[in-house]
Point group: C2
Chain length 435, copies 2
Amino acid sequence: MALSTQPYKGARDFYPEDKRLQKYMFKMWRTVVERYGYEEYDAPIIEPFELYLSKTSEEVVNEQTYSFEDRGGRKVTLRPEMTPTVSRMVAAKRQELAYPLRWYSLPNLWRYERPQRGRLREHWQLNVDIFGISGPEADHEIIQVADAIMQAFKAKREMYEIKVNSRKLVNAFLQDTLGVDATQSQSLVRLIDRMHKIDHAEFVAQADAIFSPTQRDEGKSDQLFTFLKSDSLDSLPDNLQNHESINELKKLMDMLSGSRISNARFDPTLMRGFDYYSDIVFEVFDTDAENNRSMFGGGRYDGLVGLFGVEPVPTVGFGMGDVTLQNFLETHKLVPELRPETDAYLILVGHVYAAAQKTIADLREMGINMAVDMSGRKPDKQLKSAVKNGAHFAIFIGEKELADGQLVIKNLHTGKEERHGAERTVSILKDYRQK
Amino acid sequence: MALSTQPYKGARDFYPEDKRLQKYMFKMWRTVVERYGYEEYDAPIIEPFELYLSKTSEEVVNEQTYSFEDRGGRKVTLRPEMTPTVSRMVAAKRQELAYPLRWYSLPNLWRYERPQRGRLREHWQLNVDIFGISGPEADHEIIQVADAIMQAFKAKREMYEIKVNSRKLVNAFLQDTLGVDATQSQSLVRLIDRMHKIDHAEFVAQADAIFSPTQRDEGKSDQLFTFLKSDSLDSLPDNLQNHESINELKKLMDMLSGSRISNARFDPTLMRGFDYYSDIVFEVFDTDAENNRSMFGGGRYDGLVGLFGVEPVPTVGFGMGDVTLQNFLETHKLVPELRPETDAYLILVGHVYAAAQKTIADLREMGINMAVDMSGRKPDKQLKSAVKNGAHFAIFIGEKELADGQLVIKNLHTGKEERHGAERTVSILKDYRQK
């Protein structure tokens, strides 16, 4: 029986035209984050299973990740996210590293789930983290980097929105203003995290189920709902106005508008799923009606490095996936024309493969990327392959061209054919490449 | 209990300085193969287990790879090599693709084995393949690309050797000259493949065990040994001189020397492990006494695409691993000085983070990569971090600099300090980057 030609379910084959789009995204990511002084790191895709247990149960890790036992009896996991890995690496050299430490990576990640739009089993994710800064300047820079990436992809301000919140503020509201205990607080955070997926009545019913009868009678649900509807920091309850989290949020929002990031706004309903976030969180939303969804986000997680038995390091970071970015670029028609890396296809007229080697080597030496058709087929067949391969230029070399050094260069889009020496031929190709 | 900070056994963490070396190798690989018209593709690291069964047994795949069952009951494998994957992808679009088709990829691969020098459980491997050419011109180009990569890494001809053989020729010798049957032939190929790991007496004993008593009496072992010692095509037995495989090998060796690849030589003992090779094979050897080993190789495998139920496609390719390449570069002192991506560290004097934002944005706008220290520490502490981070330049900005627009730029290697406007500062940084 013949083998299947399909890629594994929920994962993608990247044919050269798909890979070109991914390379474009990777290149832009690298260019922007390196502009801010971030340096690239990487790590194995296999990590110990225990690494993912700190924030959830064994059952959930088993269910949502690719985990298995290696033949040495170790339980291992294909990383579903990069944050535990980067925390591990920083912890391993806690004392040797210089802070502020700025790192980024472009790992592929695996999660076990039903594939759907924007969610695949394998995706790539830009991870950007700054270690060693406890003040809101780090949050400011991280959001600035996220925004600079959107700008680099030519997104307009009205195409996306940056929602900002503070976990610390939410906790202060829940515990100091509402007066709930730590367990109730955690349940409420999880409820708020999914409030946009349920209707108002359902939300109130679930909140009431978390509150005690007395708290219900005191109208805590209404208070909570009023808080969650606040669209500015000034409209928050008086007793919170002097809380340090508000001062930090205000400072952050001021710095963001000072950096002309006019599409950032406070949103008290923003939680982000992960338990490890300890303070400021943010999320970038697509504002398009057809793709209105959270694209990516991040926040501060000061506690993670410390789980490895070293002194904790304040950390802010975010992750941005290739699948959601690609959806955004396509929705907003921001994918540029992406050309093949090959500048020209060389068509050999007659049996001149060996005789043409010197000319071929000279052309490449001058810096052009050239594919040679050595199939021995007739020139028109070779030309068809060149066109099918997406070539913009074909160069013809036969005995005549080898004798007089004048090559035939044909623009396959305009059909224009010219004869030039090697140097002029190369400069035509380079001119086109830079257009 | 604290979590371990170690990476998974046999795999590597890449801290930025390690990653820089890998990025240098990747960039060089891409530059050279794109010069020859190859285009990048990629595929998921998870493949169906069956994909690796065609050339070996279930037991061997289980033993030598990372294989497990996903929760849908599918047996899957982390790819140990890229060849089956690329064959699958070509087969899936057999009719739509244009030939000659030139593809490359840079996948990470996993194999289950005891980690040792040059062999790790996870490594990256450049894969280069040309599809659709049955003549030796394709073998010539593939070896030319392999050689061009070595040259791009500044390897001298005496540092490495390219051994070339033909599986077809070996089969002709075994079956036509020696007169062994197909089963004996396969056993002998496997014996020859490991002959450099055993001594002569052991080799003869094992060969004799494969021959029948009559064949032994006829001195087949001696004949075999004479064949394997041949160092030129002309010294091979007369009855082989007109075999097509010799003509192809001769044509190939002529083309290689025409391309000034003077360190290629015929070696009838070269087998390459994989069963799928059907004709020409080659291997690149490090000639250094301390690292005298096969670094990488490849060959022709015309039968693989056809396993997916489509018409076969003639294919030649090779794979080159990052671990062996790195060993080679280190052994021969060919690793160049690799600089961090960051051009300068910005040291803030006093509380000017918000006030300096415009200057910072301007500097980045002009194209320099700059990390900002917003820790609020004293300048000398910040300077220490900059030095520890490997910075070449520090820029100092305080209230005075913001007022008069003259920044302080300090060369951390020479200690020289100057005051310049933003544009001159940027041009100093760019000049150094291009050095």
